[in-house]
């Protein structure tokens, strides 16, 4: 008789897929979100508007709808037949880019304008000022919000099971179908997500403590 416990390694393997979704989504979101935030603060009027529309759209549409829109609609129509994993990472990333742009924008704006003016006075170019003076401070300030984003993407990654990505929840549902026993598999999945949420948050916070500049927050 096969029990749920025999499937435990099978479910656990999903942790790697879930972490892959999270890492991919966070990284792509960072690559999109950081330039967008700089554009929104320092950019031209039209650039600001474009960033605002981007952030508005991706923050106001359910992930479920985005996944279906891109997987069945936009990617095939543009000639890309993507596998579920790649598509999910891209959608998570696009969406996180919208959220991360707002996290970074808030952080950049919380740094006094004097810092930027001082950089320009020292003869730095606009980009040098942003890169050497503003961003090192802004990224540290943005860190707590960014940790939150980890927890949000982690939990949203579970929704990618609708495309059949072999992450924790997809595997859990297969086990439920195979064993006809819903209770234990779902509790195992729940336990894994709780461990990843709190364990991951703790881990990232340790990095934060390491990169902290004493007295930075609260000085501005």
């Amino acid at each position: 008789m096969v029990t749920v416990w025999d499937y435990l390694p099978y479910i656990l393997e999903g942790v790697w897929w879930t972490l892959g979704l999270v890492a991919g989504g966070l990284a792509l979101g960072f690559i999109i979100g950081l330039p967008l935030s700089i554009g929104q603060v320092y950019g031209h009027r039209i650039l600001k508007l474009i960033v605002e529309i981007y952030a508005w759209f991706f923050r106001s549409v359910p992930l479920l709808v985005l996944l279906f829109l891109f997987y069945w609609g936009i990617f095939p129509a543009t000639g890309y037949k993507l596998d579920p994993l790649t598509c999910s990472i891209l959608v998570l990333g696009f969406r996180s880019g919208g959220y991360q742009s707002q996290i970074f924008r808030g952080a950049i704006q919380s740094i006094g304008e004097g810092q930027y003016i001082a950089a320009r006075t020292l003869g730095m170019s606009k980009l040098q000022g942003i890169y050497h003076i503003i961003l090192p401070q802004a990224l540290r300030i943005a860190f707590p919000g960014w940790v939150n984003e980890y927890a949000i993407i982690l939990k949203d990654s579970a929704i990618c099971f609708v495309l059949g990505v072999m992450e924790i929840l997809t595997r859990t549902r297969y086990v439920v179908m195979a064993t006809l026993e819903p209770l234990l598999p779902y509790f195992i999945a729940g336990g894994l997500f709780i461990a990843l949420t709190y364990g991951g948050t703790k881990l990232v916070n340790m990095v934060y403590e390491k990169t902290k500049i004493p007295g930075l927050i609260g000085r501005m």
């Binding site: 106001s60 709808v65 829109l69 936009i74 990654s157 779902y186 729940g190």
Partner: protein, 218 residues
């Protein structure tokens, strides 16, 4: 009937169901958020521990897992809900847990002098919490609560997973008949974005309406 005519009339049915879900879960999630926060701050150690554990659990679980547990796993324990109520209950619990964090932070941020003044006026603890602390804390927590309600509006689409005939599930069904995913899902996306934007504007207005001049400096 043309594609758009039948699509829109279909979608409207789903939209009504989504609005029903939201009409029940938004007010009740706010109520749950307030109750959990009060229980954690003012309850004795046992109540505070239970409320805190509940919040930690619900904030650690993805909403979709909570929803599937409520609908598919709880019947094994003899607890049955219809799809609609399973969705509503999962949404209330999840959103309430997140909202309670903002309210708890807000309660803690109220100056202790307010509490002392209430006691000096002869108020009981319950009167103090209801008439003095919560009206101020709620105002401070409102921006956070608003965020959570926007999330709730978007995540209401998950109700499709347990078979509720709401906006997204109707759109998906219609797509399986017509297979025009770009038109169908982008229209659906815009309806959700419309709801989220209206809610944002409404709550910003509410925030301004409730604002007490000078409260921020206390």
């Amino acid at each position: 009937m043309s594609f758009w005519e039948s699509f829109i009339s279909y979608l409207l049915q789903g939209w009504v169901a989504t609005l029903e879900i939201l009409a029940i879960s938004i007010p009740l999630s706010i109520l749950l958020g307030l109750s959990l926060a009060v229980a954690r701050v003012y309850g004795n150690w046992l109540i505070s521990l239970i409320a805190g554990g509940f919040v930690a659990l619900l904030r650690g679980l993805p909403l979709v897992v909570t929803l599937l547990i409520v609908f598919f796993a709880l019947p094994k324990l003899g607890i049955y809900f219809s799809p609609f109520w399973a969705a509503v209950i999962a949404f209330i619990m999840c959103s309430g847990a997140y909202q309670s964090e903002y309210v708890r932070g807000a309660i803690r941020s109220i100056d202790v002098g307010q509490s002392l003044a209430a006691q000096a006026l002869g108020m009981t603890k319950i009167q103090e919490v209801i008439y003095i602390i919560l009206p101020q804390a709620f105002r401070r927590a409102l921006p956070g609560i608003t965020n959570e309600i926007i999330y709730l509006i978007l995540y209401s689409s998950l109700a499709y997973l347990v078979g509720v005939q709401e906006l997204f599930s109707i759109a998906k069904h219609f797509n399986s008949l017509q297979f025009r995913p770009i038109e169908i899902f982008s229209t659906t996306a815009l309806i959700y974005a419309f709801m989220a934007t209206i809610a944002t504007l409404f709550f910003r207005k509410l925030e301004n309406k409730l604002k007490i001049p000078g409260l921020e400096t206390i």
